[in-house]
Amino acid sequence: MSAATPDELMIAAAAAELAGVRTVFVGIGLPNAAANLARQSVAPDLELIYESGVVGARPTRLPDSIGDPALVSGAAATMSMRDLFGGFLQGGRIEVGMLGAAQIDRWGNLNTTVIGPYESPSVRLPGSGGACEIALNAQRVVVVMNQSRRSFVEPVDFVTSPGQRRPDGSGERPPWAGAGPTAVVTQLGVYHFGPDGEMELAGLHAGVDDETVDAGTAWPMRRAATITRLPEPSAQTLEAIRRLV
């Protein structure tokens, strides 16, 4: 078996963040693979809930979109988006939301809207979709994204999905909101958030050192009290991941 790719390291680390979880709001791609891996390992009772309103999918093939027909056939339930976003997500019934982003700042604010100013962007990104309300209403959020000085930035060009504080460090999450981003998984490592809401390096993938992290972050990345060396995925885990992507 060949060594784990960066994507595979991210999938394994993101799956570990779902240990014991029962409801996760997922998108296609890495989060989907991570959630399926978790269901086969650390979260046997996990139900995958898709933005398209599908609950408890058992796809017979890899879904190509969050509205893939293979997600529907054999699912436990379908819901209208009103029920999904109102009764389920806003109702507080989603434990973990998984989000990606083009940019993140030290407070976990996510940008999926524009690079550059909103009125005349240099790159127009897709926008929120459900990300803004997932960031606010899921009980907690796991972010999965690629890390570089272009994505780990300060400040983000636009806050699509709120993190622990405003980009200037002010403010707090509303009292009704979930815990917000509690983990960020990248190809370099895993980050958690300190009691003041600032991101800190908590774990490093095999072969990655502190300097690589600093080179891939546009602000001085804080360190957690203990930084773990993330386990390399076992051959069995790698095999499972490769069946999922």
């Binding site: 408890g56 339930a77 389920f88």
Partner: protein, 302 residues
């Protein structure tokens, strides 16, 4: 996936506590009399009972002394007349009431289900209902300044619904009139689903659109065939309209009502005994002929 199937006795004991706000919902259809009777048998007290139409199910619970307060929108025995036990309790000052319209109750559950601090609706203007209930308030639209009525969220401690079937994971499927069962369940802290039939997960998963509540929101599944009688379960049995009519003289007379509760609730150990006492003839008479929905094709994608 851990099974959620427990006996109704266990489900009530674990989930319904003195002083709770309880909603046994189902609009005419799928009213869990089985659960109400178990609550009576377990002697729960000081409950706040919420339901659009208190119906016989709450007349019996009030008569049995379970309730301190009633939250409702239409108080009657449909097509027959009054709910006499509830009327006596109100008149005796033993039962507090909080009154809305149907849409007001629907909106309260919807707000509760989606954790909104209020829900707006176009009702109550020019009616005396808002004056009678200070929980009905007004909000101004930030777009045109227009004022609109709002109601507060209703979040039952427990919602109990009846349905035709569920699997052991708690995925509940119902057909026919669903009323506010979905919103009332999503609004609740704990949810008990009582069903006619436990089915294999594959039956549920063959038709995911039929699922009213996914298992993730259901705490207990209890299998109680005929558990909605004298209400009905579409395709399983008819509404027992004779029972509703016959309830009127029983409910009018406290002594007869007490005797009824002793005979049909306290004197029995559960729904199976109730069905046996009803007798095969009465049960059979309520069974409809088949009328299949037909099947649609979801497609198998590989």
């Amino acid at each position: 996936m851990t099974s959620k199937v427990v006996s109704l006795r266990e489900a009530i004991a674990a989930n319904v506590h003195d002083g709770d706000t309880l909603a046994i919902e189902g609009f005419t259809h799928l009213i869990s009399f089985a659960a109400a009777h178990e609550v009576i048998r377990q002697g729960r007290r000081d409950l706040t009972l919420a339901r659009l139409t208190p119906d016989l199910v709450y007349d019996q619970m009030v008569a049995a002394g379970c309730a301190a307060k009633l939250v409702f929108s239409w108080l009657g025995n449909p097509g027959v007349g009054s709910l006499h036990a509830i009327r006596r309790a109100i008149e005796a000052g033993q039962l507090e009431i909080e009154e809305y319209s149907h849409h007001g109750m629907v909106a309260r559950y919807a707000a509760g289900a989606s954790r909104l601090p209020f829900f707006p609706l176009r009702s109550y203007d020019g009616s005396d209902l808002a004056a009678a209930n200070p929980q009905i308030r007004r909000v101004s639209s930030p777009y045109d300044g227009e004022e609109i009525s709002v109601v507060p969220p209703l979040n039952p401690d427990v919602t109990i619904i009846h349905a035709q079937r569920a699997d052991a994971e708690g995925n509940v499927q119902a057909w026919g009139i669903v009323g506010v069962q979905g919103e009332a369940a999503l609004a609740a802290r704990r949810v008990i689903a009582v069903v006619e039939e436990l089915v294999d997960s594959s039956v549920v998963r063959d038709d995911p659109d039929r699922t009213l509540l996914p298992g993730t929101v259901v705490d207990a599944v209890c299998v109680e065939p005929f558990g909605a009688h004298p209400s009905f379960a579409q395709g399983h049995y008819d509404r027992d309209n004779g029972f509703y009519r016959d309830w009127d003289p029983v409910s009018r007379d406290p002594a007869r009502l007490e005797a009824w509760l002793n005979e049909w609730v306290r004197g029995l150990d559960g729904r199976a005994a109730y069905v046996e006492r009803l007798g095969a003839a009465r049960v059979d008479k309520l069974r409809p002929d088949p009328r299949p929905s037909g099947s649609v094709d979801y497609g198998s994608y590989r």
